[in-house]
């Protein structure tokens, strides 16, 4: 046993204690942060505007009404306007909420079928205006300090364990020196402003403005010492959906400091810089590329305000069962459900598993060899055994709820979350309940819109 003299005692004790703390940290690190992934769950949310009474939209040529051509170099040229208009049309078509009146094709259809009522073939018009501006290209330089190091190999004689001598080399620093280098860069920025307005036309032909939205987006490009980068910055005038942001925060909240070390994914919010470095080219894009990129981003963003869109929330996957973890990581939700049902039934036995509510919706796997059923006939004792089995497998039931949620079966997922939360009030389960209630509420709104759209179609004789 090692002995310490009195003068060193407290230092050594401290060292031991530090070692213990370090070990405790390492242990906790391994326990809490070694393996996590995220499981995406999607929720459909309606657009910001409730466009009831609209089913088929005719898109009026952008920038044509009281043309602001005086805006000179800032008004977008005709090809740019067409490009953006086509992208907006495409975004609306992809959302599948509204029909887009293809004026040219319908003209032919009406010529072939004179009974079709041409005058009632749309009940809303969408009009957009856009302006475009490019900043002058910047060609400048900035200084950067590089630390340089020189070294040389020095030989010396050493001995191996047998006492035989050999020559060893050591790389030794001889100098460290900072040098200043001039870094050259080129940069350019473009801004696109796009406004979209939607007007409903009632059966009397009366126009009513139902939505109006506007966004300014800028995209900057830089070639910095041969490296290419891009920055996207948008100034969305409208309010963001705060509830969605808070839901995301609650669902994707890091469990611990260690989780935050493991997870690196971070989504930039509105108005924040989204910087993406790509090294596949070293050229400033052409104006056409600028326009294409900005137009594509903006048209997608703006069409979301009119039509339902999907948002993705990420649930932390930290299940210790390897198979379950990997199935969830790879989004194999049906297979994960099969695994859960198989596992719980095998461990708990069929008689007990039959009493676990969330499992009742799933078939008993045919290849299963379940644990032996308990022999007790006392219902209280039996219920205690069921409760024990639930507590033992609560992680699996939680995973089952996530699987249902990820597949859009919110009601079933909600029932399971409620079931496990009732037995074990945990934050993750409460978050699950919150997400499902939100998703169901949103679904209701989307259905409400869909119903209104169908009614409008019938009224306008479009369906």
């Amino acid at each position: 046993m090692r002995r310490f003299n009195m003068s060193n005692c407290s230092i050594h004790k401290n060292k031991e204690a530090f070692r213990f703390v370090l070990l405790a940290f390492c242990f906790l690190f391994v326990m809490t942060g070694c393996r996590t992934s995220t499981i995406p769950v999607e929720i459909t949310i309606p657009g910001d505007f409730n466009i009831s009474g609209v089913s088929k939209i005719a898109i009026v040529d952008f920038n044509t009404i009281q043309d602001d051509s005086k805006a000179g170099l800032f008004s977008a040229d005709r090809p740019t306007v067409s490009l953006v208009q086509n992208m907006v049309t495409s975004a609306f078509t992809q959302s599948r909420m509204y029909q887009i009146a293809n004026l040219d094709i319908e003209k032919i259809a009406v010529e072939n079928n004179p009974d079709a009522k041409l005058e009632n073939r749309f009940d809303a018009i969408l009009y957009g205006r856009l302006w475009w501006q490019v900043s002058p290209e910047v060609l400048q330089a900035y200084p950067q300090v590089f630390s340089l190091e020189s070294w040389r190999n020095v030989s010396y004689t050493d001995y191996n364990s047998k006492g035989e001598s050999y020559t060893e080399n050591k790389e030794l620093t001889t100098r460290k020196k900072d040098e200043l280098a001039t870094m050259y860069y080129r940069a350019k920025k473009a801004s696109l402003m796009l406004s979209l307005s939607l007007y409903r036309i009632d059966t009397e032909g009366l126009l009513e403005k139902v939505a109006d939205t506007f966004i300014i987006a800028s995209q900057g490009f830089i070639v910095d010492n041969g490296e290419f980068g891009t920055q996207f910055l948008d100034y969305d005038i409208s309010d963001k959906n705060d509830r969605v942001a808070r839901m995301k925060e609650a669902s994707e909240e890091k469990e611990s400091f260690f989780d935050s070390l493991v997870s690196t994914k971070k989504e930039a919010g509105a108005g924040q810089k989204k910087v993406e470095i790509v090294k596949n080219t070293a050229a400033i894009p052409t104006d056409l590329q600028f326009k294409l990129m900005l137009a594509e981003t903006l048209s997608k963003e703006l069409s979301k305000k009119f039509s339902p869109s999907k948002i993705e929330l990420n649930v932390v996957n930290k299940f210790s069962d390897d198979k379950l973890f990997n199935l969830l990581k790879d989004k194999a939700f049906n297979a994960a459900e099969d695994h859960i049902v198989y596992y719980v039934r095998k461990k708990a036995g069929n008689a007990i598993a039959d009493k676990i509510d969330p499992l009742q919706a799933y078939k008993v796997p045919p290849y299963l060899t379940p644990a032996k059923d308990p022999e007790t006939t006392d219902p209280d004792k039996f219920n205690k055994l069921v409760k024990k089995a639930v507590n033992k497998n609560i992680d699996y039931l939680y995973a089952l709820a996530i699987c249902e949620e990820a597949q859009g079966n919110y009601e079933q997922a909600l029932d399971t979350y409620r079931y496990i939360f009732d037995l074990d009030p945990e934050k993750d389960y409460a978050n699950g309940i919150s997400r499902c209630l939100f998703a169901l509420g949103m679904n209701e709104r989307v259905q409400e819109l869909e119903k209104a759209r169908k009614n409008a179609g019938k009224e306008a004789n479009l369906e």
Binding site: A17, F20, V21, A24, F25, F49, N50, I51, V60, I65, Q66, A71, S75, L103, D104, K107, L118, F122, Q133, P136, Y142, P143, Y156, T157, Y159, G163, K170, T173, T174, K176, K177, D178, L180, Y185, M193, S195, S197, Y199, I201, G205, L206, L207, D212, I216, G220, I222, L233, Y235, I237, D242, R243, M247, A250, S256, F257, F421, E426, A430, L437, R445
Partner: protein
């Protein structure tokens, strides 16, 4: 001593791993405008921008004026439209010429489609908002001097003696080895100046807003004298310079926000405290924003609810916009624990919210284009 260290270590671990102290829930409210009381009288609004531009960044004043006019009116129009109480006229809606132009587009003889769709304008009375913006946008090349410190450290090579213990059976032999190592010598530092051309862009200006309701009365007037924005390419922010559109957007957005809040009912976030002494389940559900579920969970407690539970019930009702139910719950909490400061504060707050609602009902009607149900339901 070591016990203290161990305890400190564990406390540190606890702190890092998730000892969180969230005891609140953020809630949205629709609140009445800060200045204009009768929103109905401005629910159809014509925005009339008047822009004066100057400065070295302005290449074509007439053209850029158009651009800023549009940015100004569209920004405000979009913001008001989002709130859903005030609708602004534009080149089509509330504009006979615009409607006629659309009609022309559909009725063109040489058009491919030949649509005929009778359209008419539905706007008669309107309020008018004059927005007068005076802005100076400058872009100048400046000489930038960056000072860098450069360090030069020579290293000297020295030797130290290390012992190698050689074991041969029971015999031990010690050999001495001269191992070289390098150590920094006296370093020198010099300051170097780097001169580079930088670009400085800036915008400053004033914005005045004057609102006349649909009966011709001035109902709102406000000046925003300090609109400003500045950007300089530098060592840390090298990159492209902002476009004029971007500068204007950055300058005017805070004022647009203010005007919107002054004249239109708008959304406001407030943080409501949760009483953590209440039912654990309800507290967790509230924190997770499962508000209706929290109400359900608290209702299940029936007569076993504590004062803290009633307070949390009130918070949940308040968060989903059921203010009368919230008031009842806070009243109950206050009756059960008359000394509770928390319950008293909640009661006071809910009374204020109910008063706001009353004002809102009196002064404004939400347009049909917005969802009627509260956000949290």
């Amino acid at each position: 001593m070591n016990k203290i260290l161990v305890a400190t270590g564990f406390a540190g671990i606890l702190l890092l791993t998730g000892c969180k102290t969230e005891e609140s829930v953020t809630v949205d409210y629709i609140v009445p405008p800060r200045e204009v009381m009768d929103v109905k009288s401005i629910s159809t609004l014509e925005i009339v921008p008047d822009v004066t531009l100057s400065g070295s960044a302005i290449q074509d004043p007439t053209a850029e004026k158009q651009l800023v006019n549009i940015a100004l009116s569209q920004s405000l129009s979009s913001k008001l439209g989002q709130n859903g109480y005030i609708r602004t006229t534009d080149s089509i809606w509330g504009n006979i010429d615009g409607v006629a132009q659309i009609d022309d587009q559909f009725n063109k003889k040489d058009s491919m489609h030949g649509y005929s769709r009778f359209m008419t304008d539905s706007v008669d009375k309107r309020a008018k908002l004059d927005l007068t913006l005076t802005a100076t946008l400058n872009s100048t090349k400046v000489q930038d001097e960056i000072i860098k410190e450069l360090t030069d450290t020579p290293y000297k090579i020295e030797y130290r003696n290390e012992e190698r213990v050689i074991k041969k059976g029971d015999q031990k032999r010690t050999l001495s080895v001269r191992v070289p190592y390098s150590t920094p010598d006296k370093s020198t530092t010099k300051k170097v100046s780097f001169k580079t051309a930088a670009r400085h862009v800036s915008g400053s200006g004033t914005l005045s807003a004057k609102l006349v309701d649909d009966s011709g009365n001035i109902v709102y007037e406000k000046d925003f004298p300090d609109l400003s924005y500045s950007f300089k390419t530098s060592e840390t922010s090298h990159g492209s310079v902002p476009t004029n559109a971007e500068i204007i957007a950055k300058m005017i957005l805070p004022a647009i926000e203010e005007i919107t809040k002054d004249i239109s009912p708008h959304k406001e976030n407030r943080v409501l405290q949760i009483n953590t002494k209440g039912s654990e389940k309800a507290v967790l559900l509230l924190r997770s924003l499962a508000l209706t579920e929290a109400i359900r969970s608290l209702d299940e407690l029936k007569d076993d609810k504590s004062s803290a539970d009633y307070e949390n019930l009130g918070v949940a009702y308040e968060a989903i916009g059921e203010y009368l139910d919230a008031q009842n719950a806070f009243q109950k909490a206050s009756e059960m624990d008359p000394a509770s400061v928390f319950a008293a504060q909640c009661k006071k707050r809910i009374s204020a919210v109910l008063e706001e609602k009353k004002q809102l009902r009196k002064g404004a009607k939400k347009l049909e284009t917005q969802f009627k149900s509260p956000d949290y339901k």
